[in-house]
Symmetry: C2
Subunit: 530 residues, 2 copies
């Protein structure tokens, strides 16, 4: 009897007594990453062949500074010191670096309005910035754009415990919003790895998807209202709190996912669901991507209304996570090509346990699942989630990472990772151990339940050779399967020139018309999006 | 011991054996209504003080007819006979009547495009029409606009059984789409009383909410892609099938709820959830609106993930339904001021039954519920739903109905119905029995779980006296509570001038800009919306 089949037979009874390694809070912050990285090259230099400073934008002068000081009325709301600017000029992945000389941190919507009105009149380009956790260079200036940070607008405005409607400033950190809601018995309808840094406004501006979209749907359904400052300084106050309101075009939808190109979101009104009373997490090992898909189809049918996350990770991603976390993997019976994390949440522990155990028992009986573990308490649950949530950071282990966040039909989802590794191998670029090769590994993981794959190419350095091997190859592959080149990360700077792989000419033209309609001077987040 | 408390004590054991009256299919179609109604007055005459024909629109001539014949290449796709036109010129409520001389029924998106391109060039006004089940006069011409019916575009285009993605023509009848999905184990994420007549495209164009929004969310979340013909004839092909796609502004959102004013929806791509394996329906009687709210808060917490509908009806609405259906009410122990219909749906009959019975047991124990019944089979379930779904038709029993579909904070929801009845009584306009009074009754019912009230004023005739008593009183009352004057029915002709009660000047101006942007000649659905 092999280890695998033994594990399969013994899983269910064994689950109850197994120990999940406890290593405390493993959510590293960007400061940890910085220690072992080199200086980030300037975006303007790295991409000098692709982008030039647009001379229609005015260069910042002293009169502008004085104007902003008069608007903000607080020395601390205006940063000009090189050291202070560094954080705001660099992205989380250390791939993009801008040259802004000024960060403005307004405290009110009116201040944002006055700033933007002035910038529009003066043709000063502006980059709105939330928690700066984006993955496509969208929140980083390319040249000398002024950075408008929402970090000082961080108040909860109101909460209605009957409807679950939360209204807050754009700069509230997602985790703070969720902690606030937890006390009231509610949950933010979105969760993602960067929750400790990202802003609610940024999440909406980028239409983030995250870990629980499968259960609570997209922000296009849950955002009830927005407040935004338009490029001419107009305050668009649409902070409604109604679940249904069919009076006119639903214009707030345009700002969800607009990446700060047609307005700066300053306030968010969102419908929050009641917090489930019981969570379960199972972590499974399977032998093929076909098995991953079969487990998913079964889970959606049998776990149905309690299924709240279905994440998959390939074996290579878990190998990186193991090196990164420095502890043994929770599945001890061997290495497997694929792992699955299933989360259920509901209102009855007894019912949920029964559904999950019946489902897993059947999946093992059918030979789909090789080994697995169910978290027995809150700590174990968090630790199992860490093996999924730590993958993005683990993939920077070599020093950098090329990230592709794509939607694909389920059957084609993992084919992209295989195709990329074949291509890298054919060019002799990849080796997990050999430090002389530029690429550590190409790994795949993501929100399988949403058809959303994260392809991360972990590299030892950013290089044109690797970039040329990856692009446009990756985009062409996705386009051939009618997928999306950006499922949830957005376009930003990285994908500005690639929208044509996911949208047709009519769609692109209509998108450009909307940008022109709202921002004829192009002052908001230039050189990006479309 | 009173009847009520006896009922409370005996409800749960009694539920199992009680018989729900079976009266077969009670879903009357509009043909039934027509028999007892007088001729519908022309909208142009009824509202001659408010609207005049816009002379910039060309009047139809023979050359136009010949052009349309050439495009459609089928005599049956073009209706000019007065008898044939009647259905298309009148609305379901028999409140609005247009004077169109031409109905076009294209069979392909290309035909729609050619027709609209020509109309735009010639300045011929067009009203797009789906199943003509709208409630605000949105699908009916006001003057001589050409009617473009989507009824002949009624094909399912594709279905993906792994993702649940349905793609279909706009003219597919909702019930047909749902029946098709049922065979595949899926469900359309929206249900409403008019499902036997309304079109999928019309549902999207009006952002219909319906009976299960509580569970499956709004169409802004579930529609994955659209195909629409713009006012200049451009085909906007955005029939994507991806759950996540962050490449550019989500322009399809503008068309959801645009009521045919900026484009004609010709195709819909929608994400359909797996069909629940078990449905339960409970029908409860309670003594106050406060109790209705308490039962709701409890249901959302205890039934949580299996709660799929929470509908309320006042006693007056059930009295009309009883007269309309001609059978005894399912709650036999007496008349109550409020009734609740709760639907649960899930994957385990045993678990769902247990949750529902525990919840109802607690609610009775607390004295919130006076009497109730749980459907024991599919027929009983449908019959209980009929007491809710028949209310709209029952409210036309006097000959006509003024319908207000509003969103309000939960605590204020029923206050509007009380305020309206007080006003009607103060003016001596209302009497359920006295045929000389213009108003039968003002009744309230709706989707409590969505904060959505339907206020129906059942009248014996449409009259200016009643209309003046109701408007703008109703809109002012809603505005004072920060509600919406149209939760799900839209603006159409009825509410064109009232958007200011729900949206501020900036919002209205931005909405008008979008209309101007896409339809500078104003050929699509004129005299309506904004």
């Amino acid at each position: 009897m092999t280890v695998a089949s033994l594990a399969r037979k013994s899983l269910l009874p064994a689950l109850k007594s197994r120990f999940v390694h406890s290593y405390g809070s493993t959510l590293l912050r960007r400061s940890t990453i910085r220690l072992y990285s080199k200086a980030v090259p300037l975006t303007a230099e790295t991409y000098s062949d692709k982008v030039k400073r647009d001379e229609r934008y005015k260069k910042l002068d002293n009169a502008d500074i004085e104007k902003f000081k008069a608007i903000l009325q607080d020395e601390n709301s205006l940063l000009q010191d090189a050291g202070d600017l560094e954080f705001f000029n660099e992205d989380w992945m250390r791939k993009y670096r801008g040259q802004s000389k000024l960060v403005l941190k307004p405290k009110t919507t009116e201040q944002v309005s006055e700033i933007i009105k002035y910038c529009n009149e003066q043709k000063l380009a502006v980059v709105p910035q939330g928690g700066n956790t984006g993955l496509v260079g969208g929140s980083i200036p390319v040249f000398d754009e002024i950075i408008l940070s929402l970090a000082s607008m961080n108040k909860i405005r109101s909460f209605d415990p009957v409807s679950g409607n939360l209204k807050c400033d754009a700069g509230v950190i997602l985790e703070n919003a969720d902690n606030f809601l937890a006390e009231k018995g509610y949950i933010f309808p979105l969760d993602l790895g960067a929750k400790g840094s990202c802003h609610v406004g940024g999440v909406v501006a980028t239409n983030a998807g995250g870990l629980r979209l499968l259960r609570y749907g997209s922000l296009h359904g849950s955002v009830l209202g927005l407040e935004a400052v338009l490029p001419d300084g107009t305050i668009y106050n649409s902070m409604h709190s109604l679940r249904k309101d069919n009076t006119g075009y639903d214009l707030k939808q345009l700002f969800i996912g607009s990446e700060g190109t047609i307005g700066i979101i300053t306030g968010v009104s969102i419908l929050c669901p009641a917090r489930p009373q019981v969570f379960n997490v199972a972590f499974l090992a399977v032998n093929s991507f076909e098995a991953v898909q079969k487990v998913f189809v079964g889970a959606r049918k049998e776990l149905s209304e309690i299924l709240s996350a279905f994440e998959f990770m390939d074996g290579n991603s878990q190998a990186l996570a193991e090196r990164h976390l420095g502890t043994d993997h929770p599945i001890e019976s061997g290495k497997y090509p694929f792992y699955i994390l299933i989360e259920t949440s509901g209102s009855s522990k007894e019912h949920d346990d029964e559904k999950l155990e019946t489902f897993l028992g059947n999946a093992m009986e059918e030979g789909l699942v090789e080994d697995g573990i169910i978290a027995q308490d809150e700590t174990q649950l968090k630790n199992l989630w860490a093996w999924r949530e730590q993958v993005p950071e683990a993939s920077t282990i070599g020093g950098g990472v090329y990230k592709y966040d794509v939607s694909l039909p389920l059957k084609d989802l993992y084919g992209l990772v295989e195709a990329v590794n074949e291509k890298l191998d054919a060019q002799g670029l990849r080796d997990p151990e050999d430090e002389s090769k530029p690429v550590v590994d190409a790994i795949g993981y993501g929100h399988l339940g949403d058809g959303n794959l994260h392809l991360n190419v972990a590299v030892r350095e950013y290089s044109k050779v690797v970039e040329n091997a990856l692009e446009p190859f990756v985009y062409e592959w996705i386009s051939s399967k009618k997928g999306s080149i950006s499922a949830e990360h957005g376009l930003g700077f990285q994908k500005k020139n690639y929208i044509g792989y996911s949208k047709n000419d009519t769609e692109v033209a209509m998108i450009k018309q909307i940008k022109q309609h709202y921002d004829p001077n192009g002052i908001l987040n230039p050189y990006k999006y479309v």
